[in-house]
């Protein structure tokens, strides 16, 4: 198991006051960077390193869209579906990606390449619909752009 991960988490832990759970978010991020997603075993490791229960880790991780509790593909396509983007037609953009990838939001394409998900506001409300492709924003995305973006990733 990840001795290195344990050590790294201890470093983070030392930054925060004893007896708080502040280190949990950065520790989960570290684990996700290490494994690509937060598997049950990854959550157990984080729990062990922070002296909390795996249940608490899962509770926090499942609160945030940015943490993956299922394996993800090589690439990540996140479509903002909050109010502003919804007004720009985010639903249609999402559906276009679903058609292109053959999977629904929260799932990964059959070839394991791309994971599609919805996401809460990314802060680009003036330029919707915002789609984050591997964490880089594409602005003003229209349904007809989906095919090209997917092609880029394959």
């Amino acid at each position: 198991m990840g001795v290195a991960l344990f050590e790294k988490i201890q470093e983070i832990r030392a930054i925060y006051p004893e007896g708080t759970q502040s280190a949990l978010l950065p520790a989960l991020r570290l684990a996700q960077e290490e494994y690509g997603w937060l598997s049950p075993d990854a959550l157990r490791e984080v729990a062990d390193a922070l002296d909390v229960t795996p249940a608490v880790c899962k509770s926090v991780a499942s609160f945030y869209d940015q943490f993956h509790l299922e394996p993800v593909g090589e690439h990540l396509v996140e479509v903002c579906t909050n109010v502003s983007c919804a007004l720009y037609g985010a639903q249609q953009v999402l559906e276009a990606f679903q058609d292109e990838l053959g999977c629904r939001a929260g799932e990964t394409s059959d070839d394991g390449k791309v994971t599609l998900s919805t996401i809460e506001c990314l802060g680009g409300c003036g330029w919707g619909t915002i789609v984050a492709v591997d964490h880089h924003y594409r602005t003003g995305v229209k349904p007809e752009d989906a095919a090209a973006i997917v092609k880029e990733l394959s």
Partner: protein, 696 residues
């Protein structure tokens, strides 16, 4: 009165101490502020449900009353006088009910459901919800004892707050976010906590129900009997729910000084032992082919013959599960009738400790707590563990050894009576709690001494009386019995006495008898008969048997108690103990207790094995399949540092190597465990030496 504030609620003026919550303040004025999530025992309010909305003069919006405290001059209006608050609560309920299935007719909570009650009082009379309601798989087993119906959950977070801030197991958590939030555990593992059942009582709707009580009864066809749990020395106050003469569930009956309304799962979920398959209902005599039932008259004849044969050599081994009256009755029969003064008492409690008596609730206010126990406090006296946790949350220091520097006002918790009595004096403890091994060992010892005096015979016992199933399981008692010509057993379960006793007389459970028990604080409490036992009461036949030895023993618990009380409890009566027993005052500090000899801790290579008796063990637990999953016999407890050194994390399977014998156990990280030791249940299978090696 600067420490008080005066305010107006619905035009009533009320004065309360500063810092009083608005909900309690309203209550003091005779006004209800309805709540779901608010529960002060779970820590600070969270304001999750918005049921408690009130209008407060000077504040622009409705406020969640549960999050506020009373302020001088505040003008509060509840739904009674404020149309705005009334409208707010009505809307809150409409919102809560949007996805609530309203399956009250098949919901266990129906009839005693805060959501039903508050909807009737404050909610809309009909629904505008014309869409399909959200549905979920239901019910899902949260554990073998608790069912979770997510459709009914109103996300008040009472259950998860209990898990986080009371039992501190942190295994029941909210998952996901917003409207998709559900209550659950890690990877759907069973919610396993010594205290899990409390969430059933806390849940204000029928989302968390007891699998044992499901569909068994309705609130309008049950009775409640106020009694006291008889399964450990805490003596939690319980209410036994019965229907048609059967116990259907055990609930808490909050005694603020003892349990604060919490129970452990052993006390809550093991009443099924009453109807165990091997429950003894008639006297049994050992025959050619095992036990055979016997008529009562013949049984008493047999008992008389055996006792006469034993004469003053009879030794009685107690379990500490007897009521004080039962032990007294037996004591009278044997001591006065036969001069048989020999007894194996489960517990000897030095009177010096009575000078350090205090209510359990006082632990919460401690600044320093010294815990010197081999078993975890939670295994020996579960609720005491909750008080210690509460103290720790309040900032108390918890020590597991005596420090060099002088301790101020320390509270001592120990499972070694003699050592505790000395140490309490030595550190000048504020209070001291000895955790007995048995539920009423103390009352039994009191009763035995009140029943007579005189020395035990020096002769080998010709007859041994084994009272109770726990004594029957005790290796020391079995060894003593093996040397006797005859053994008389008194117990609940046939299997306990197989191969041990020649004559067995049936016993009653603590839920089937009237009498008293003495808890670890030294508080005398009353148990009441919730259901009729399948056999006559012990006092009835002991009294008949005693007659044959010309000893008068009352068949009535109240009269027996009067006798005992006159001798050792200062003459208090059954009635005076009442439903919430008071704690007798602490005794005067007495003569110094001699220091006990220090115990040498052996040292060797490997990890030292500490064997302990888990909470979920013993004859009663063994007969209730639903709590089987709580057993810890396949687990090894490890100190975090030892685990880390071996690359072991909680839940990993590890191999325990004991001189070349390999056994597999599931590792559990136990923070309170001293480094260099591992904990294993006394019931753990396998040939295990005192020192072992552990690897992943």
């Amino acid at each position: 009165m600067t420490d008080h504030v005066t305010l107006t609620i619905d035009e009533r003026t009320v004065t309360v101490p500063k810092g009083t919550g608005l909900v309690e303040t309203a209550q003091a004025a005779g006004i209800e502020i309805p709540v779901f999530c608010y529960e002060p025992r779970l820590g600070p309010p969270v304001g999750a449900c918005r049921m408690c909305l009130v209008e407060i003069e000077g504040m622009p919006k409705l406020q969640a009353g549960c999050t506020l405290t009373a302020q001088e001059g505040m003008v509060v209006r509840t739904a009674r006088t404020s149309p705005l608050a009334s409208e707010g609560q009505n809307s809150t309920l409409e919102f809560i009910l949007v996805n609530h299935p309203l399956d009250c007719p098949v919901c266990d909570k129906g009839g005693e459901c805060p959501l039903q009650d508050l909807t009737f009082r404050y909610g809309p009379g009909n629904t505008r919800m014309t869409f399909d309601k959200r549905t979920q798989e239901k019910p899902i087993p949260l554990s073998p004892t608790i069912a979770l119906d997510r459709e009914r959950c109103i996300l008040c977070y009472r259950c998860t707050r209990f898990s986080e801030s009371v039992s501190e197991d942190n295994d029941l958590v909210p998952l996901n976010r917003g409207a998709n939030t559900v209550i659950g555990t890690f990877e759907d593992q069973p919610y396993r906590s010594r205290f899990s059942g409390n969430v059933v009582e806390l849940c204000p709707v029928g989302a968390l129900t007891s699998t044992q009580y499901r569909f068994e009864a309705r609130p309008w066809d049950i009775q409640e009997s106020p009694s006291v749990c008889g399964l450990c020395p805490v003596g939690c106050n319980i209410s036994a729910t019965t229907r048609e003469g059967k116990v259907k569930r055990i609930q808490s009956r909050n005694h603020p000084q003892i349990d604060e309304g919490w129970l452990c799962d052993k006390g809550r979920f093991t009443y099924g032992h009453l109807t165990a398959a091997d429950r003894i209902k008639t006297p049994l005599l050992k025959g050619e082919a095992g036990f055979e039932p016997l008529e009562w008259d013949d049984a008493l004849d047999q008992a008389e013959t055996l006792l006469r044969a034993g004469g003053d050599t009879v030794v009685t081994a107690f379990s500490g599960t007897e009521s004080t009256e039962q032990a007294y009755a037996l004591g009278r029969l044997l001591r006065a009738g036969l001069g048989a003064n020999g007894a194996v008492l489960p517990e000897e409690i030095p009177t010096a400790l009575d000078a350090y008596r205090a209510p359990l609730s006082s632990i919460r206010d401690a600044t320093t707590i010294v815990i010197l126990t081999r078993d975890l406090v939670a295994d020996r006296a579960p609720i005491v563990d909750l008080w210690v946790k509460a103290a720790r949350r309040n900032g108390a220091t918890i020590l597991t050894e005596i420090p060099e520097e002088k301790l101020e006002d320390a509270v001592l918790i120990s499972d070694n009576a003699a050592h505790a009595a000395w140490l309490a004096q030595d550190i000048d403890a504020k209070s001291a709690f000895y955790l007995p091994r048995t539920p009423n060992g103390r009352g039994v010892a009191d009763a035995w001494s009140a029943a007579g005096d005189g020395e035990a015979s020096n002769e080998e016992p010709r007859v041994v009386i084994v009272s109770g199933d726990d004594a029957a399981a005790d290796p020391a008692v079995r060894a003593l019995a093996a040397g006797a010509d005859f053994v008389i057993g008194i117990g609940l379960f046939q299997e306990s006495f197989e191969g041990l006793a020649d004559l067995v007389l049936p016993a009653t459970s603590y839920l089937e008898r009237d009498g008293t028990t003495v808890n670890l604080e030294g508080r005398v409490q009353r148990q009441r008969r919730a259901v009729i036992a399948p056999c006559p009461d012990e006092l009835a036949w002991i009294s008949k048997l005693a007659e044959r030895f010309e000893v008068e023993v009352s068949p009535h618990a109240s009269l027996a108690f009067e006798e005992i009380s006159g001798r050792i409890y200062g003459g208090v009566s059954f009635a005076e103990i009442g439903e919430q027993a008071p704690l007798p005052p602490a005794a005067e500090k007495g003569a110094p207790v001699p220091a006990p000899k220090p115990v040498q801790v052996p040292v060797a290579d490997g990890l030292r094995v500490i064997r302990y008796r888990p909470l979920f063990s013993g004859p009663v637990v063994d007969r209730v399949p639903e709590v089987e999953f709580q057993k810890a016999d396949h687990e090894v407890g490890m100190n975090p540092a030892d685990a880390r050194e071996r690359g072991v994390i909680d839940g990993d399977m590890v191999t325990v190597n004991s001189r070349g014998n390999f056994h597999r156990f599931k590792a559990r990280i136990v923070r309170d465990l001293p480094a260099g030791t591992v904990r294993l249940s006394t019931y753990a299978e396998g040939d295990l030496t005192e020192f072992v090696a552990v690897r992943k």
